[in-house]
Structures are given as C-alpha cells and as structure tokens.
C-alpha cells in the first residue's frame, strides 16, 4: 500500500471511533419537541432526499468501482 493510502487509512481508523463517541451524545444538550421544526424541513431532513440519494447511488454504482453511503443495499441489475 502507498504511503498516502496508509496515512488515509490510519486517519480513518482514528476518526471513526471519535465520531461514534460524538454520536453517542457525550456533552450534547437535549433538543425538545418544540425545537425540532427546522429538522423536519425538506432542506434539512435525510428522509426527504432518501429516494433521490438512492437513484443517484444506483446510477453512480454503474459508473464507478464502489458503492454504498445510504444505509441500505440497492438491488441487483445488469447495470454493469
């Protein structure tokens, strides 16, 4: 493996646990129901773009060598 790939892989290994800890909520204030309106807006919501993201991933999977990033597998096809 090249030196740059080693560096990137090492950084990723260090980054991933830190991100997981962040997600487990160390030190984050509670966001109550009446504060969540903006999070449901289509420009903020992950769900609002789920189908668009899946379509794009499907199209790019057929044109690049990798896959993933949406939290679910696309089905198979002869799009290869």
């Amino acid at each position: 493996m090249s030196a740059s790939r080693t560096t990137i892989a090492r950084a990723t290994r260090r980054l991933a646990p830190a991100l997981l800890l962040l997600l487990l909520g160390t030190g984050c204030a509670q966001v109550r129901a009446y504060q969540r309106e903006r999070l449901t807006d289509p420009i903020m919501s992950f769900d609002a773009v789920k189908k668009d993201a899946a379509r794009r991933t499907h199209a790019l999977d057929a044109r690049e060598g990798s896959t993933g990033g949406n939290g679910g597998a696309g089905g198979g096809c002869a799009c290869n």
Binding site: R5, I8, A9, T12, A16, L19, L20, L22, L23, L24, G25, C28, A29, Q30, V31, Q35, R36, R38, L39, D41, P42, I43, M44, S45, F46, K51, D52, R55, R56, A59, L60, A62, R63, E64, G65, S66, T67, G68, G69, G71, G72, A73, G75, G76, C77, A78, C79, N80
Partner: protein
C-alpha cells in the same frame, strides 16, 4: 378521512453520456399510512437503455462496448446497430412500528435480480439518537444473450448486505449521521459480453467470484439563517479487490420564497485501481487469472455538479383541490470523470398527496 395519508410520485429521468448511451427511466412511487402505526410503500421503474453500435471490430479493445456500462451482446453482424434493452424494476415494503420488510425485483432480457431486506430503527438516549440496523439478501440469475465471441452460460450472483446507522440531533439546527456497511458478493461479477485484449488476442473478461465490500459514511446537515441549509457528506470505501475510494459531497439549499427552494450539489470522488487491473495484459492469464476491460476497475476521479428546484404548490396558496396537494421538482446533474467520460442526468417529478 385521514389527512395527507397517501402520496404518489411520478418521475421521468433522462440520462445520456459521452458514449451516446441513452437511458429513459419512468418511475412511480406510492406510499400510504395504514392502521396500527403501519406504512406501505411501492416503487416501480420502467427503464429503456439504448447502447449505440460499436465503432471498431467486435471483441477488440477499441469497441465501444468495452467502455459502456450497459451490457450488450453482439451477434450475427448486429454490432454496428443500436441495441435497445428494457428493464423493469419493482420494490414493495411494509413498515410496522420500528420494523420494515422489503422485496425487490429487477428483470431484463438477460438478468433477473431479487432481494429481500429487513430494517429496524429505534430512538434511544432521550430521542436524541436514532439507531438503525439493516440487512438484505439478493440473488441474481444471469442468462447472457447469444453473443458471437463469448461463451458465458447461465450464472448466478448472491449478495449479503448489513448496515448500522446512527443519527444524532446535535442542536435544533444540526443533525449528524454515521454509518457502517458491509457487502459480501459471490458469483458472476464481470460483463459476460466483454473481451479484453491480452497476450496478443481477445480473451473474455474475468473478475474474481468473491468480493467483500465495506464502507463508512458520515453526513452532517446544518441549518443556516435565511431558511437555508448546508449538507456535507463523506464516504470511505474499501474492498478486497484492492479498490479504495473517497467521496466528498456538499449541498447548499435555499428557499427562494415560501414553498420553493433551490439546491446546488457538488460531489468529488476518487478511487484506486483493482489489484488485477492493467492498462495492458501481456499474458492471456492476466493477473492471477483475472483480466478486466472495465474502466471502473481502474484508478479514477470524478466530479458531479447538480442543481434542483423543488416547489410545494400548497405553500403557494393554490386553492384548487388537486393542484393544492401537489409538488413539482426538476433537477439537472452533470457528471464527468478522468476517463474522458461525461454524462447528464435530467429528472422531472410530480408528487400528489391525498
């Protein structure tokens, strides 16, 4: 009467690329809420792919079919004619509380794919974090059409997928998502119609039968003043064929007026080459028995720019019963990569809630 209980989307997507491949997709989605915290959704796609005739002798490495991404057979002198293929796709799913089950089917003349998936999600830690776990199993049946110079018979491919995704609300305007995914693939994973020029002759393409693919991704959505938002995403991918990739994305969305917003997208992507990829193969056995003419196995970088306009007609105080429950969306994406390849995706969508 239940309000906004059902939604129908109709989309047309047109794709064309620098190799003159054209794909027309007619897509429909239907969703409805049912009793007892249940939900049903359905998706279908009728896709027509037109692959142009090749511009070099069939089987040669200069033939266009060596670099298009739609499979096409060549037989009986039809190499110089356009090849048109239709694919139909269906997906249905039911959600009950935290659990979801899905079924997927894709059928085309030479490929039948099916998949079942199960997902579960729950809010934890005072509803600030949502944890989702998913798995799916896919089984594909491949029956290549008659082709002059390859002899690939019936084959199969199986894919097992697992994912774990955590989504955390950080502030009233910030939400973070982190995910890990794993795909284990077994079976035919190369183009059955493609040849590779190796050792002075044309040899059928051959990829390994096993592939372990994994990725981790991170997404951050941040609300900004003046009803706008910025989204960032990163994905690192790695597999046992030797391909590592990085993807970085950013989207800026802004409301132009009530109910109408515009989004600008940018995506950067880079990948390394597969261990068995070579620009030239000196021997017919390739690298450990594997040879590829698929540019996606090579070192690659790409950019994608996109723009979307999304309008909710209800917010415009449209008082007619049908128009007032509709939304319209249009987008254009421009993609180009380091292989001198470029493509356009144009999508138009209408949504109706009733």
């Amino acid at each position: 009467m239940v309000l906004d209980d059902q939604t129908v989307d109709c989309l047309i997507q047109l794709f064309n690329d620098s190799d003159h491949v054209v794909v027309r997709s007619a897509i429909g989605n239907y969703e409805t809420t049912m009793a007892h915290d249940s939900h049903f959704q359905m998706h279908w796609n009728n896709e027509q792919v037109t692959v142009p005739g090749i511009k070099a002798p069939p089987g040669s490495s200069e033939a266009v079919d060596a670099i298009t991404t739609a499979s096409r057979p060549i037989s009986g002198g039809d190499a110089y004619s356009d090849y048109v293929k239709t694919r139909n796709e269906f997906q249905g799913g039911v959600t009950h509380g935290p659990a979801e089950l899905q079924y997927y089917l894709s059928t085309e003349p030479d490929y039948l794919a099916q998949q079942v998936a199960a997902n579960w999600n729950g809010d934890v830690r005072d509803d600030q974090t949502n944890l989702a776990l998913g798995t799916s199993y896919g089984w594909d049946s491949i029956d290549p059409a008659v082709d002059d110079d390859t002899r690939q018979g019936h084959a199969t491919k199986k894919t097992w997928h697992g994912n774990a995704v955590a989504t955390r609300i950080l502030t009233p305007g910030t939400i973070l998502r982190f995910g890990l995914e794993l795909n284990l693939v077994e079976g035919l994973q190369h183009n059955p119609y493609r040849n590779v020029y190796a050792g002075g002759t044309n040899v059928p393409e051959r990829h390994p039968d096993h592939r372990s693919r994994r990725d981790l991704f991170l997404k951050l959505n941040q609300a900004l003043p003046n009803r706008s938002s910025l989204k960032f995403s990163y994905r690192f991918y790695n597999d046992d064929w030797g391909i590592d990739s990085h993807e970085l994305g950013a989207t800026l969305s802004q409301y132009v007026t009530h109910g109408l917003f515009a989004s600008w997208d940018y995506r950067w992507y880079t990948q390394t080459a597969a261990d068995f990829w070579r620009a030239e193969y000196l021997s017919v056995t390739g690298v450990d028995g594997y040879l590829t003419g698929d540019y996606r196995m090579a070192r690659l970088a790409s950019h994608l720019f996109g723009v979307t306009l999304d309008a909710d007609l209800a917010a415009f105080d449209v008082r007619t019963p049908v128009l007032g429950s509709m939304g319209v969306k249009g987008s254009w994406e421009r993609y180009f990569n380091s292989n001198n390849y470029s493509a356009n995706f144009v999508t138009a969508q209408v949504t109706y809630r009733f």
